[in-house]
């Protein structure tokens, strides 16, 4: 039915199967949209947020998807600026994931603010000293860059590519992509950093506050670094999942190995600095405000010392080591464990820097505040996941996301299939091609 749109030389599941899965995730998406509309029309009383938890599940989800989406800017940087040309075989997917992550982040922010219709005030009345202003500007600009990186991919669809203007536009955008990628890396450096700064500048919250270099707290650099380090873990994890779902090998081992190795070294270097920084905070910064570090990890039902261990060791040191040791990295099971642990580690870091910051009492007569999200918050947080799966399904089906797919999965009787596809394509494409 839709074979005219499917890229040449690859096989896709039957249309009915595609549509069936699309409707499953579509139902989840609609559930999320319903919750989103509740929040917009009835207000944030639909959530379980409160005056102690002004930042909650959504802000964590926001920070987490942006960190995970960091694979896009970092792969782009590696390919276009540092010339790691092999990565061209995975960069399309990294861009798609980045696009999904960043559009989700913007959507979550639009739900999260109390007066969504005033969202533009952040640009119009910008307070340039606020980390959140920097986040908003860089995030929006970088989303524009990701859109620019995603457009040529859409234009490479078999039918769209037949339109001369689209073909030329796609070609020109590919030619200039290095400039966009460099701009994207510049913007990412600042918004990933300023997201870290969001917590680090809170000098009223000793759990979050960090010492500064010029105007930037250490968390600024740690967030950028960790996004670059763990973002590729997400790209690799999603590639692995897509390969499992489609039952095909989509990216060659040397490409996976290269990205995993770079990610491993980035994680290892990051986690060393992060551990040193944590020790400095625990022994110098926090005590200077009158806090023994045990204050932050005791006397409550959730946040114990385990969380520090889980973040730094399980989600940092372990994946880092696995990915830098060649024999382990090349072992598929170990590598997959490492990249999944990496995703877990960076998400946990963002959780700690948002939720635990809110939970810790600061005044001596105050108490730990714990919170659990309402179903509306959960639904709106799952919404981007469903949206991401749907966009990935559509993109994978109709766009040449994985350039090596055809080579790695040669079709049996390829000529017949191609001839059949051509015949259908000729009918379907007659109009746009002559337009």
């Amino acid at each position: 039915m839709d074979s005219a749109l499917i890229p040449k030389g690859v096989k896709r599941c039957p249309t009915w199967q595609f549509l069936a899965w699309l409707s499953v995730f579509g139902a989840v998406l609609l559930w999320g949209v319903y919750a989103m509309l509740l929040c917009w029309f009835k207000g944030l009383n639909q959530t379980n947020m409160n005056d102690y938890y002004g930042f909650a599940l959504w802000i964590w989800a926001d920070l987490a998807v942006i960190a995970l989406g960091g694979g896009a800017f970092f792969s782009g940087l590696l390919k276009y600026i540092f010339g790691k040309d092999e990565l061209k075989n995975i960069i399309n997917f990294a861009v798609l994931l980045g696009f999904i992550c960043y559009s989700s982040a913007l959507l979550i922010l639009a739900i999260d603010i109390g007066q969504p219709l005033r969202g533009w005030f952040i640009f119009w009345h910008a307070n340039v000293h606020s980390m959140l202003t920097e986040v908003a500007f860089c995030l929006s600009c970088y989303f524009a860059v990701l859109t620019i990186e995603y457009i040529p991919l859409i234009l490479e669809n078999r039918q769209l590519d037949k339109v001369p203007f689209f073909h030329n536009l796609s070609h020109n955008m590919h030619e200039t992509m290095a400039i966009f990628a460099a701009t994207g890396a510049f913007l990412s450096f600042f918004h990933q950093g300023s997201l870290g700064g969001v917590a680090g500048v809170l000098f009223g919250r000793p759990f979050a506050f960090r010492e500064h270099i010029l105007i930037w707290p250490y968390t600024f650099f740690l967030f950028t670094w960790s996004a670059a380090a763990f973002g590729p873990c997400f790209t690799l994890s999603m590639t692995w999942i897509t390969e499992k779902v489609t039952g095909k090998k989509l990216v060659k081992d040397n490409v996976i190995d290269l990205l995993a190795k770079i990610s491993g070294w980035m994680i290892t270097s990051y986690i060393i600095v992060k551990i040193v920084e944590t020790l400095y905070w625990a022994t110098v910064t926090a005590p200077s405000k009158g806090f023994d570090v045990s204050h932050f990890y005791t006397n409550n039902g959730l946040y114990g010392w385990w969380i520090l261990f889980a973040e730094l060791i399980v989600g940092g040191v372990v994946p880092g080591l696995i990915l830098i040791i060649p024999s382990l990295r090349r072992n598929s099971a170990a590598r997959v464990t490492a990249i999944l642990l990496g995703c877990f580690g960076v998400c946990l870091n963002r959780w700690v820097m948002v939720l635990q910051v809110m939970a810790v009492p600061v005044m001596t007569f105050d108490n730990w505040a714990l919170y659990y999200p309402s179903w509306q918050e959960v639904a709106t947080t799952i919404l981007p996941v469903a949206y991401g799966i749907i966009l990935t399904m559509i993109s994978y089906r109709y766009l040449p996301i994985f350039p090596q797919e055809a080579e790695l999965n040669p079709l049996e009787g390829a000529e017949e299939v191609e001839a059949e596809q051509e015949a259908t394509a000729a009918e379907g494409a007659a109009e746009p091609a002559t337009a």
Partner: protein, 290 residues
């Protein structure tokens, strides 16, 4: 001298421009509070007066203190000791109006839309409700939980809207609000200064609702910059050390964080003063301050 004459005189001071703009006749105030915790009985009159004065909305069920709005909130502190050594202290907590370092208060510096501002003219941290878009970053920044979010639209019982103060705008759902030291009273006082042709807002002309409502006289309000004002005499702020009180019985909440607040507390009890800030076990009370 009539007020009209004074007007002319004042108005002629600078190139014929009226000077009753901004600071009343150029005076830079630093409004602040001193709360005597040994006098506070925890009656809550300050909280009621505040809600009434500032049109603070409330709901049928106010039991969940994590979602109800109390610009002024009275905390109950205990020394944690068993009877007969048990001791209790009530601590009223308005917005602390942090100055931080040069007006860099925790909340003002983070607001992305400049919806909250530190006034160097009055020392008051303001909130612009119509500009706030409800990101709640300021609430995350405030260690005193002095900032409140309007989770619901304000609804008053039938007829009660007639009792709302016409000088204070009610807030809509989805924005943050907080104590502003009854700023509308400062505006009215300033108008009166202009009309009466006086030089500056006097101590008694500008008092907050909570100050006036306190039956025990535990709250004192005034200009910390003005040595004639009682707050100055009680707190004895040391301007060379970010306003650290020279009165040995006075302290400020979480002073060690560098928030540089303008609400001072006084107590003769050491455990109360120690409860005002965080100390490592071997540190002396008040020792960690600026």
């Amino acid at each position: 001298m009539t007020s009209a004459q004074t007007h002319t005189e004042n108005g002629a001071q600078t190139d014929g421009k009226p000077v009753a703009h901004g600071a009343d006749n150029g005076h830079l105030h630093k409004y602040g509070m001193v709360i005597d915790l040994d006098k506070c009985t925890g009656c809550g009159a300050c909280m009621v007066a505040c809600m009434s004065e500032n049109n603070v909305p409330f709901r049928d069920d106010e039991t969940d203190k994590l979602t109800s709005i109390t610009w002024m909130r009275v905390y109950k502190l205990t020394n944690g000791k068993p009877y007969p050594d048990n001791d209790v202290c009530y601590l009223p907590r308005p917005c602390q109006h942090c100055e931080g370092h040069a007006g860099h208060s925790p909340c003002v510096s983070v607001c992305p839309a400049t919806a909250t501002d530190y006034s160097t003219e009055t020392g008051i941290v303001s909130q612009i409700y119509t500009r706030c878009f409800g990101c709640r970053y300021c609430m995350a920044a405030c260690p005193y939980h002095a900032r409140y979010f309007n989770w619901w639209d304000p609804v008053w019982p039938d007829g009660m809207e007639k009792y709302l103060s016409p000088n204070v705008s009610p807030r809509m759902r989805g924005v943050v609000e907080k104590c502003n030291f009854c700023f509308q009273r400062y505006q009215l006082a300033k108008d009166k200064v202009y009309v009466d042709g006086e030089s500056t807002v006097s101590e008694e002309a500008y008092q907050t609702a909570c100050t006036q409502a306190c039956p025990a006289g535990a709250i004192t309000f005034g200009d910390l910059n003005n040595p004639e004002h009682l707050v100055h005499q009680l707190a004895q702020p040391d301007d060379h050390h970010h306003g650290h009180p020279r009165n040995p019985n006075a302290f400020r909440l979480l002073e060690r964080l560098g928030t540089n607040t303008k609400v001072y507390y006084v107590s003769s009890r050491e455990w109360v003063r120690r409860a005002g800030d965080n100390y490592l076990p071997d540190e002396q009370t008040g020792g960690g301050g600026h």
